[in-house]
């Protein structure tokens, strides 16, 4: 979201120019185009939630399909409410406590931004809602790591606390104008649309949670197969569509940078998907649909931090590279045998790291040029690499340790892990009192 600054400034300059004749703009006037795209992006990002629910839901056993989908859906409920109450304030308010997170009483219940227009001509409400979607999807991603064995209540409390203590601060550091990662190095750590904030933090937290909670009772000696790959594949399609909002929307404008982001997003996803089926084809002799879907995700995850700075050529490499490394990571996981059930770490964690680090080799020259000037003279890829690595390490460390602490403490009050019986009977029956596929049995 760094790049956008450049272009929003331009935009607002422009709008001011064209209109200064009209009135002394006390606050920037609306750019109806940018607003339109941000409204749309917000909707698209929300579309990722059902998309994710379908993707994850299709991969578990039938008896857990609803419970798994509810992990995504309930995040939509919990995180939205929290975001309005304190999330937006903690993430984008002015730094307090030495910059651990932000706070502004104005943002409580969003009361202070009822009519605010940001530079770029976008009502702050939309920015806030757009960001809210990120706060929703991140914990929903984590859920993949401990699918099929978490208690619903425990999950809800976990994501609530995780959102407050882990997500909001991270988001503040990386995206708030006074966040310290936002100001690291010449032009800050590059995280266009959430490689570190969303994917790395989700992936790492997922890994920690998976280890903390332990594997499923029957893992790995019972083979557990997807209940509905058809739905999983469809979900991947919706995720792809939603990701356009996720990335191109992160330009907070409707212009060149949005176009660039959308383009590389499309390309990286395709490259990732192709790479996966090819690798799989060579390795196993089959090109699986789940592999294709996983490749889409790997590519999308990898391009997320990079969408603002790389060009199509780079996007292809980045997408394919991410897929390759994710594939490896999952093979390794299967060897090691820990139960990151739906590979939240294997794909989001690993993919995010690959993207956030390797993007430096594909940065648009113009960006580096500006960086140099800002750095006063010169700024090398290697310096940026340093910045990126720092950011990644900080995210990994903070999310990892933080998650462990939260789980440890929370577990004292609520059993996060599902009871033996719940796991055996299935989350759907035990926590939700429902069954997902009524049509299968005569009824």
């Amino acid at each position: 979201m760094k790049i956008l600054l450049r272009c929003t400034l331009l935009l607002c300059a422009l709008t001011l120019l064209t209109t200064s004749t009209v009135w002394a703009a006390d606050q920037p006037i609306i750019d109806s185009g940018a607003t339109a795209w941000m409204l749309t992006s917000t909707a698209f990002v929300l579309l990722m939630i059902p998309g994710l629910a379908m993707f994850y839901g299709g991969l578990v056993r039938s008896k857990n399909v609803l419970g798994t989908m509810m992990h995504s859906f309930s995040a939509m409920g919990v995180m939205t409410v929290l975001w309005v109450v304190c999330g937006y304030s903690m993430a984008f308010g002015p730094s307090i406590l030495g910059g651990w997170f932000g706070w502004s009483s104005d943002y409580f219940m969003l009361s202070g931004i009822d009519e605010t227009i940001m530079e770029g001509g976008i009502p702050e409400y939309i920015f806030s809602m757009f960001q809210a979607k990120f706060a929703i999807i991140t914990p929903a991603l984590i859920a993949g790591a401990f699918a099929e064995r978490v208690s619903f209540k425990g999950y809800c409390f976990f994501i609530a606390i995780w959102g407050i203590l882990i997500y909001n601060p991270l988001c503040h550091w990386v995206w708030a104008s006074d966040g310290f990662l936002f100001n690291l190095g010449a032009r800050g750590a590059i995280d266009f649309a959430g490689g570190t904030v969303v994917h790395i933090s989700a992936g790492v937290s997922g890994l920690v949670a998976a280890l903390f909670l332990g594997g499923r009772k029957a893992h790995p000696h019972l083979q557990m197969r997807p209940n509905n790959l058809v739905m999983t594949l469809t979900g991947a399609g919706l995720l792809w569509v939603g990701w356009f909002g996720f990335n191109a929307g992160s330009s907070l404008s409707s212009g060149l940078s949005s176009a660039q982001a959308l383009t590389v997003t499309q390309i990286a996803a395709a490259a990732g998907a192709m790479a996966w089926v090819i690798i799989e084809g060579l390795h196993q002799g089959k090109a699986t649909a789940l592999g294709f879907a996983s490749g889409i995700l790997a590519g999308l995850v990898a391009i997320t931090p990079a969408a603002g700075v790389v060009k199509p050529g780079g996007a292809i490499v980045l997408g394919a590279l991410a897929t390759g490394i994710c594939y490896l990571a999952i093979v390794v996981k299967n060897k090691m045998g820990y139960d990151d059930t739906l590979d939240a770490f294997g794909i989001h964690g690993v993919g995010g790291i690959v993207g956030a680090i390797f993007l430096v080799f594909f940065i648009r020259d113009s960006w580096m040029a500006e960086a140099s000037t800002l750095a006063g003279g010169s700024w090398t890829v290697w310096q940026q690499l340093g910045v990126q690595v720092t950011a990644v390490l900080i995210a990994v460390a903070y999310a990892g340790v933080g998650t462990w602490v939260i789980l440890f403490v929370l577990n004292k009050f609520i059993k996060i892990r599902a009871s033996e019986e719940a796991e055996m009977r299935g989350l759907d029956n035990h926590y939700h009192g429902e069954r997902g596929y009524g049509m299968i049995n005569p009824h």
Binding site: L222, M424, G426, G433, E434, R435, I440, P442, H443
Partner: protein, 115 residues
């Protein structure tokens, strides 16, 4: 030879399967059935209304056995379903039917050794 049809709770399949394997019975066929019985079924809830389904989802296990294995199989199933009884009435039935002949398609073997 006997042909056993066991109707068990949906969620006890894994236990039963493992118990059977321990009892040396590795060949079974499993299918979905909906059952109606006296069993107090696990309720489901729809829009705040408790629904006691009049057809509960159960699992049906089919096993062709040689006579000496019948008791082993039955006991395995009985014990496996005892576990996690969690107070619910009724956990199905075992039906034992006579079996006149078995053919193993792969080898054309017939009779006891084909089981």
């Amino acid at each position: 030879m006997k042909f056993i049809v066991a109707i068990i709770r949906e969620n006890q399949l894994d236990q039963v399967r493992e118990a059977l394997i321990d009892a040396g019975i590795s060949r079974i066929s499993v299918s979905n059935v909906s059952g109606h019985g006296r069993q107090a079924t696990t309720e489901e809830i729809y829009r705040g209304q408790i629904v006691v389904p009049n057809l509960t989802a159960n699992i049906r296990i089919e096993i062709g056995l040689n006579d000496e294995f019948v008791d082993k199989a039955c006991n395995a199933i009985i014990n496996a379903t005892k576990a996690n009884e969690n107070g619910l009435v009724g956990s199905g039935k075992i039906f034992i039917l006579p079996l006149e002949e078995v053919i193993r398609l792969r080898t054309d073997e017939r009779g006891p050794k084909a089981i």
